[in-house]
Structures are given as structure tokens and as C-alpha cells.
């Protein structure tokens, strides 16, 4: 069997003018679905930094010792509420920064996984090239 065309070919001389017909129907009233460019690419998307990215201006619930909590609770609550107004802007900036770092780490992890895959493939290609010789 001879060489076969490896791509699909369009109709060489179609009857009628499809563009005109399509213009009568209308064009792209509802656009095709689009996804965020990075999110639409395959590969793991996770970094452990996501777990600790959020910084709060008060201790996380359950971090104080139980005994101390009951005795000092009213005072602690007073101080915490007073400080919160000053600390919120600082901690929210830290959280934003941490999320940005997490995003970079996640993308780097994805890229590393991808590069590792490409390395595996390149090794195979080289092995086959080596077989063929000069």
C-alpha cells in the first residue's frame, strides 16, 4: 500500500458559500468555553504550603492549654479583639503573599513532573537513536 494522507483534507471545491450561510444563521452567539490557561493544563496541582498559607491575627481555636483558657479567657479575648484591628491588615498581606508563593510552588511542582516525564521520553528516544547507529 502506498503512502496514505496523514491529515484530514477539506472538500476541495465545496458547493455553496458556507461563510455566507453561517453569517445568515449568526456567529458565535455563545462563545466557546474557555478556561484559565494554567488551570486547563494537565498535571498535579498541590503544594503543602497551601495548608499553612493563611495567617490569622489570633491563635487558632484549641491552641491554648485547657486550664489556662478558662482562667484567662476574658482578658485574652479583650486583648485579642483590641489587637485584631491592628493585626488584620498585616496578617492579610502575609496570607496574600503566602498564597502567591503557594501558587508558584504548585506550578513549579507541575512543571517538574512534566519535565521528569519529558526526560523519560527523551531517554527512550535516545536509546532508539543509538540502536539505529550513525
Amino acid at each position: 500500500m502506498g503512502k496514505v494522507d496523514a491529515e484530514l483534507t477539506g472538500v476541495a471545491a465545496p458547493e455553496g458559500d458556507l461563510d455566507l450561510l453561517q453569517a445568515e444563521v449568526g456567529r458565535d452567539a455563545s462563545p466557546a468555553r474557555t478556561r484559565d490557561e494554567v488551570a486547563s493544563r494537565a498535571g498535579p496541582r498541590h503544594s503543602p504550603a497551601a495548608e499553612t498559607a493563611q495567617i490569622l491575627p489570633y491563635p487558632r481555636p484549641g491552641t491554648a492549654a485547657a486550664g489556662a483558657r478558662t482562667v484567662t479567657m476574658p482578658a485574652r479575648r479583650l486583648v485579642r479583639r483590641a489587637l485584631r484591628w491592628y493585626l488584620w491588615p498585616v496578617t492579610s498581606r502575609m496570607t496574600t503573599h503566602n498564597h502567591a508563593v503557594d501558587g508558584v510552588l504548585t506550578e513549579q511542582a507541575r512543571q517538574l513532573a512534566r519535565i521528569s516525564m519529558e526526560l523519560e521520553r527523551t531517554e527512550h528516544d535516545l536509546e532508539l537513536l543509538d540502536l539505529r547507529g550513525p
Binding site: 500500500m1 502506498g2 503512502k3 496514505v4 494522507d5 496523514a6 491529515e7 484530514l8 483534507t9 477539506g10 472538500v11 465545496p14 458547493e15 455553496g16 458556507l18 450561510l21 453561517q22 445568515e24 444563521v25 449568526g26 456567529r27 458565535d28 452567539a29 455563545s30 462563545p31 466557546a32 468555553r33 488551570a39 486547563s40 493544563r41 494537565a42 498535571g43 498535579p44 496541582r45 498541590h46 497551601a50 504548585t106 507541575r110 513532573a113 512534566r114 516525564m117 519529558e118 523519560e120 521520553r121 527512550h124 536509546e127 532508539l128 540502536l131 539505529r132
Partner: protein
């Protein structure tokens, strides 16, 4: 003549599913060309549970030697859904990928063991459908002789890096359309993926008669046709909604639905649900349609569109499906609609201008005849088999030489 293996999740004459049908057709035709074909598959009949129904071991399907391997366990849909959660939430790692692949199955360890122990005995191994475990886990075991038929479409499960690895490791890839390859290049972040655009052969029987379809089902008025699984996931809800909106204003045409319903079909005097129709009858019904509506956006090829074009019937396709819009662009045999108004305009245009509709139909026939003949498709598979067989044989010989040294 060479020994060729075909790996597919399910196999049999009556199996539903485009990839499974394609696998069987290609296998039979390659066997007809003199190759010794072995099909490696599971004992499952359905892709939801992967329950072992067919007997394990060796059997014969015409010229094909079939080796069936039992699945280790049926699919647990709850565990699979739980495993999918990290993927759906957009945050997952390699362990999550591994878990979701095993939960999706079919987990047939014997099949993978066979590939590991005997894969080298085949000159080429053709693996069908990227998304399932036998392909993802099996392809790296026979990478030097692997021909992949991904049948890929844009769904969240395709976003796993394991799929990218399989596509990259395959020696050649048989794409269904250029749009499928473009999707893989975007999804897997690579330019210039190797492979050829093959597709599937679409050859209507010689005795297709529109009148027989009309007479058999009592279809006297012009109609739009949909055939396949009647399912909201296939865009059928939207299609029926568009039709009903049009039907309120224009009484001239009906909607005919063929296939099993997985949703409630509205009771309407102009919607005719014919149920599951034999292949021969479907050709008759299809050839008598005003147009075929192909409402699904998730397609890697669309047999419905190609069979319709082969009958000389134009297609109506939604925006947002690059594959279907690609068929329309290359064939000049269909119209694209974005909403109910455009759907109505396109259908009315075909009714108002029968000569234009006939011209679109002729374009469609020419498109299918140029691209989707079994002669062309099998020719491409033959070339791929010959290409990987050469490389694999070279590697086998060199390994033998090294062992001898």
C-alpha cells in the same frame, strides 16, 4: 505478517462505545491483511461496574485470538467519586492521580502482567482509549512498540499527568481529528505531538433508502434527527429545548430521537422517540432527515456526524465543540448554532432552501469519501505497525547481541 496485540477495556461484537467498536473494526481489518491479531481485554461487558461477565482465558472471534483477563474488583462508584474529589477541586498530587486511576479501572492485573511478560513477543501493541488503566499502566511496559489511539475529549479526567505520560511515551498516536491533537497539545503543554490523524471508516451500506426509513416508522413530515444516548450530558436537554422553542413558531418539521433515553423526553406531538433502532434501519432514517443535530460538545470524532454526512445529510452543531466545528469547516456541510434563535434560523434555512441543503449534503458525502474510508484508515494503521515493528525488532536484536557479548 507480524504479531500485533490490541489492548482495549472491553471487547466483543455487541459492545457499545465508539472506541470499542473502532478497536474491533481495526483488529478485524488488520487480521484480514494477514497480521496475527491478539486482543487483550477484560471480562467486563459494561464500563460502569467492570463486573466480570465473560469467561476469562483464550477464545476466538473470527480471525482474532482474544485473551480475557478478569478485573480484580468491580468499580465502587462511591470510592471513585471520593477519589475524583481532589481532581475536581483542582488540587491534587501524584498519589491522588494513582488512586483515581485505580478506582476508575478496569483493574485487570493479569492483563498488565501479560504485557510485562509477553509484550516483547508482539511487533506492535495498539492501545485504545487513553483514560483507562490498561492503557495508562500498560503503555509504559511496551513503550517501544506502542501505538496509542487516545479518543480524547476535554473532560476533567483527562487532566491527569499519567495520561500525558502515556501520550508522550507512545511511539505513534492515531488521532481522530486535528482538533483532538490540538486539545492534547494544549492540555499536556507540548507542541508538535507525534502521530497521524486517522479516525474511523464510515461506509454506508449500498441499499440505503430514505423512503424505507420513513415508511417503517411512519415519518411523513420533514424532521431533524438525533441518534445515540439521549442524555443531558450529550447536550440533548439543550437540543430539545431549542427545538421546542422553534416548534412554537414554525410548524413545518419534527424532531426524531433514536436511542435509549437517559432523561425524560417531553411529551410533544412533534417529538418522536423511536427507541433503539437497528443499524440498518438507522441508516434509512438518517438518510431521510432534513438535518442531523449533533448536540454534544465533548467529542473526539462523532460517528453520528460522520454517518450523517456520509448519507448526504447536513449537520447542525453547537458552538463550543472544536471537533464538530472542524468537521463543519472542512466539509462545508453543516451549520453552527450558538443559541435557540440560531438553531431555529439554521433549521428554517435548510427547510426554505432545499437546493442549498442538497448542496451541503453533497459536500458532506465528498468529505467522508475523501477522509473516512477504511482503505485510508487501515493504510495508516499498517504504516504505524510497520514503523514501530522496525524499531522494536531493532531493539530486540540489539538486546540479544548485548546478551551474547
Amino acid at each position: 505478517v507480524s504479531r500485533v496485540a490490541v489492548v482495549v477495556d472491553r471487547f466483543g461484537a455487541g459492545m457499545t462505545g465508539g472506541a470499542e467498536k473502532l478497536a474491533r473494526e481495526v483488529s478485524l481489518r488488520l487480521a484480514g491483511n494477514g497480521h496475527a491479531l491478539t486482543v487483550l481485554t477484560t471480562c467486563a461487558e459494561d464500563y460502569v461496574s467492570w463486573a466480570n461477565v465473560l469467561p476469562p482465558g483464550e477464545s476466538q472471534d473470527g480471525p482474532l485470538r482474544v485473551l480475557r483477563f478478569p478485573t480484580a474488583r468491580p468499580r465502587d462508584l462511591q470510592r471513585w467519586e471520593e477519589a475524583m474529589q481532589p481532581i475536581l477541586s483542582g488540587r491534587w498530587d501524584a498519589e491522588d492521580e494513582d488512586r483515581v486511576l485505580h478506582e476508575a479501572g478496569p483493574d485487570a492485573p493479569g492483563l498488565l502482567e501479560h504485557l510485562r511478560d509477553h509484550g516483547g513477543e508482539y511487533a506492535a501493541v495498539i492501545l485504545f482509549t487513553l483514560l483507562y488503566l490498561p492503557t495508562v499502566a500498560g503503555l509504559p511496559l511496551v513503550w517501544d512498540r506502542a501505538i496509542l489511539v487516545p479518543t480524547l475529549h476535554d473532560e476533567i479526567a483527562a487532566h491527569l499527568l499519567s495520561h500525558a505520560r502515556a501520550i508522550r511515551l507512545a511511539r505513534t498516536v492515531m488521532w481522530n481529528t486535528p482538533e483532538e491533537r490540538a486539545l492534547a497539545e494544549r492540555l499536556y503543554d507540548v507542541d508538535g505531538l507525534r502521530g497521524v490523524v486517522a479516525g474511523v471508516g464510515v461506509e454506508p451500506p449500498a441499499d440505503v433508502q430514505p423512503d424505507r426509513g420513513r415508511a417503517h416508522f411512519g415519518l411523513e413530515r420533514p424532521y431533524l434527527l438525533y441518534a445515540g444516548r439521549i442524555d443531558p450530558d450529550k447536550g440533548c436537554g439543550e437540543m430539545i429545548g431549542h427545538f421546542l422553542a422553534w416548534a412554537e413558531r414554525d410548524p413545518r418539521a419534527d424532531l426524531v430521537l433514536c436511542g435509549r433515553a437517559w432523561m425524560r423526553i417531553p411529551e410533544h406531538p412533534r417529538i418522536h422517540h423511536l427507541g433503539v433502532v437497528s443499524s440498518q434501519q438507522l441508516w434509512h432514517v438518517q438518510s431521510a432527515a432534513l438535518a442531523t443535530v449533533v448536540p454534544s460538545r465533548l467529542e473526539s470524532l462523532s460517528m453520528l456526524a460522520l454517518e450523517s454526512l456520509a448519507c448526504g445529510v447536513p449537520i447542525l452543531v453547537p458552538t463550543g465543540s472544536p471537533v464538530l466545528q472542524g468537521h463543519v469547516r472542512r466539509s462545508s456541510a453543516g451549520l453552527v448554532y450558538g443559541d435557540a434563535v440560531q438553531f431555529a434560523t439554521a433549521a428554517a434555512l435548510l427547510l426554505d432552501r432545499p437546493r442549498t441543503a442538497a448542496a451541503l449534503g453533497r459536500n458532506g458525502r465528498a468529505y467522508v469519501a475523501a477522509n473516512f474510508t477504511w482503505e485510508r484508515i487501515v493504510g495508516l494503521y499498517e504504516q504505524a505497525v510497520a514503523q514501530v515493528a522496525r524499531t522494536a525488532e531493532l531493539r530486540r536484536r540489539r538486546s540479544a547481541e548485548r546478551r551474547a557479548c
